[in-house]
Symmetry: C2
Subunit: 425 residues, 2 copies
């Protein structure tokens, strides 16, 4: 009787296969224990797909019935964000390649693809594995890999999903990718990761990048697909004009390197980069073929503060994500404790705010609690009440939860597994 | 062939029960989707227990083979911490009631019980559900609940585990607990949560606390077990003498309230409180019956800095936990990028440090990356290398990972499921 629930939330198809208790080394290394899914062989697609699809509710349920802290997405606001972005790109030369590092949720990735995205970006191999498992693609892995273990997983995945693309930023890595691809008999699609000034990953612009691209083009088991020019630090430059200025300048230098590559005879169909903060700037950069927007699906307090084209708040997209918390104690007058703390929110940015009630501030009260200071509350809050809290930074907050509760207004519609949660490997 | 791996890491016993796809409302509300485990009826204990036991390795494995970022515990250091604490308490009047909010790992909870702990503390209902499922107990839930949904889950759990204890800090909550306990035909064990000055949860010291305790004692379906006097803010007072001074003063006031309760004829076998920062102070407080130590199992940078009895570093326990990360890129001279960022560490405290190499600092490089500045490295670090990083704050960092890799030196011994990860409900 409970079977459907279990199989909907866990990839338990494996459990029915005989009683052989032996674990091989290969099984182990391809398992979720070390960061990837258990190997897929022998499991019907429909079973594997079950943690990548919405989980229906047994009967109507209200937002206020959710066990808290709960991560909740307003589907109308999400849908509005998706449509706004895709409509904006409908008549642009550049395309959309949304980044799944934000939502880690195959359900949303499929919505993005259905609206016309040319593919989905992911950061790590384990995230790619989850998306392939859920039938999401084509995929671009936007961070380079550097070990034999990850290479083995990449190659296994590329055999399953031949459209898989990976970035590289080192000559030795090109040799390793080529040797590996040849060994397993595939042609691997590779994108040159450029250091646009973030100094995080990527090869320096100019001659060394041209040399690297040339090495990929010459490698018999690799296919040079293009370049990635992601400028993370510029997504959050405050003020749209300042952001556009800095971004355009940076991409101008990127395009000089791209021109040098083309002068060297290299074919580069893809020039990918950009993010939510530059979605309407990257789209205008001459030569950019697609934009890796992530946060626009949910937005967060941090992104709203960078300002938009039309004002001090970047409000082109709606804050569709929130955490529902419960007031569990009132230790002193004017103060209410809620059940959501460090384990419910990413803490790399400012603390969350109340979404519906003014005159109340939230501060962290440790791992499990938040403290509401009721300075001049626009609505009373008493113990037992549930409150909606904003998301300071969406990506690492989503990464704390196993499920996203999809609501319309105050009605819970479905539960969406965050299948990529914790997949940072 | 892969069955054993899957059943070892997922509670998939349910999957074998027929093909009835119907989800009842009751199933749904007791399910992991809303924060609790799928109801246990009909699943053999041995199957349910599988995600609460160590997962053996197929063959010997080295630390350096782990897919990164990986959360790793040095079992010798963990064992040393466990033994140091339990030996310290061996001849004290107070007992140990370790708090599982730190490790969320039934494997470690059982080690604590095996060494003589009188019980295990947990913060939330969902954490308690995981521990009961894993056969861990007796349990004390140290944070009050405030909704009917949580009450229903509490009562269901108390029927399964009659030794379960819960705190309360409000008269209305006492009525609700009593009504619920009577309705399901149990006698629920209740502890009065006192506000020691944290102003987070707990009833004010003095008369109102006595009234509340009296209400519990008079409630026919409740059993008054004692009081909880947790002082979170005092665990991290820098300097052992200052900590002892402030803690003793606070506990003096707590004991006045306890004395008033006893003068009112109330029986209070339990007075619980304290934490790792006051483990050797709480043990000396006259009237304290047990100490809720959590972080001592792993320690973290933050705790080390509060100072110990014998010096500026609180080094009574060893830092047994670390994150293994891989150097994946060298964008510029003197800088190396690793694959562990906001999604690999809690960020509410200072950034992590390198465990083995001096002259290198870590700074966050976004959700997925960390930046190592190689000022004057005591050992070279090149792309492909793996490095061990310290834990700034253990509890919320553990909460990011599904598995804890247990190592001895450089050998991986087992993988321990962090069964309570994400269970903040």
């Amino acid at each position: 009787m409970r079977r459907s629930l279990r199989t909907a939330s866990e990839p338990s198809g494996q459990a029915r296969h005989g009683a052989d208790m032996r674990i091989t080394r290969r099984d182990f290394f391809s398992s979720s224990i070390v960061g990837g899914p258990v190997a897929l062989a022998g499991v019907a697609a429909v079973e594997v797909g079950q943690r990548h699809r919405p989980i229906p509710l047994p009967e109507p349920m209200r937002l206020w019935d959710l066990a808290t802290p709960a991560l909740v997405v307003d589907v109308d606001q999400l849908d509005s964000n998706l449509r706004t972005m895709h409509q904006f790109y409908a008549d642009r030369r550049a395309s959309l390649r949304p980044h799944a590092k934000t939502h880690k949720c195959p359900v949303i990735a499929r919505q993005q693809l259905d609206l016309g995205a040319i593919g989905i970006a992911v950061t790590k191999i384990s995230e790619a594995e989850v998306m392939v498992e859920g039938g999401v693609g084509p995929l671009l892995i936007t961070s380079p890999i550097a070990t034999r273990g990850k290479l083995a997983r990449l190659l296994a995945l590329a055999r399953q999903a031949p459209s898989l693309q990976i970035v590289t930023d080192r000559l030795q890595n090109v040799r390793d990718l080529n040797d590996g691809a040849r060994a397993v008999g595939i042609r691997l699609q590779v994108i040159i990761d450029l250091n646009t000034g973030d100094d995080r990953t990527g090869i320096a612009l100019g001659e060394s990048a041209v040399t690297l691209a040339d090495a990929v083009a010459r490698a018999e088991s690799l296919e040079l697909v293009g370049v990635q020019a992601y400028a993370g630090r510029l997504q959050h430059v405050v003020g749209w004009e300042a952001r556009r200025h800095q971004y355009s300048e940076t991409m101008g230098r990127v395009m000089e390197t791209v021109a040098s590559m083309r002068q060297a005879g290299l074919n580069l169909p893809v020039v990918t980069g950009g993010g939510t903060g530059t979605y309407d700037i990257n789209s205008e950069v001459d030569g950019m073929t697609d934009t890796q927007v992530g946060s626009y699906v949910f937005m967060d307090d941090n992104y709203r503060e960078v300002g938009g084209r039309s004002g001090q708040v970047f409000d082109d997209f709606e804050p569709s994500l929130f955490v529902l918390a419960t007031a569990i104690s009132q230790p002193v007058e004017g103060r209410i404790t809620v059940d959501a703390g460090y384990k419910a929110f990413a803490t790399d940015k400012e603390p969350p705010r109340l979404r519906d009630i003014r005159g109340v501030t939230y501060q962290f009260g440790g791992d499990e609690h938040g403290i509401l200071e009721l300075t001049d509350p626009s609505e009373p809050i008493t113990v037992g009440d549930k409150v909606r809290l904003t998301i300071p930074h969406c990506d690492p907050t989503v990464n704390l939860y196993d499920h996203l509760h999809a609501v319309r207004g105050e009605d819970v519609l479905e539960v969406w597994p965050i299948a990529g949660r914790g997949r940072s490997q």
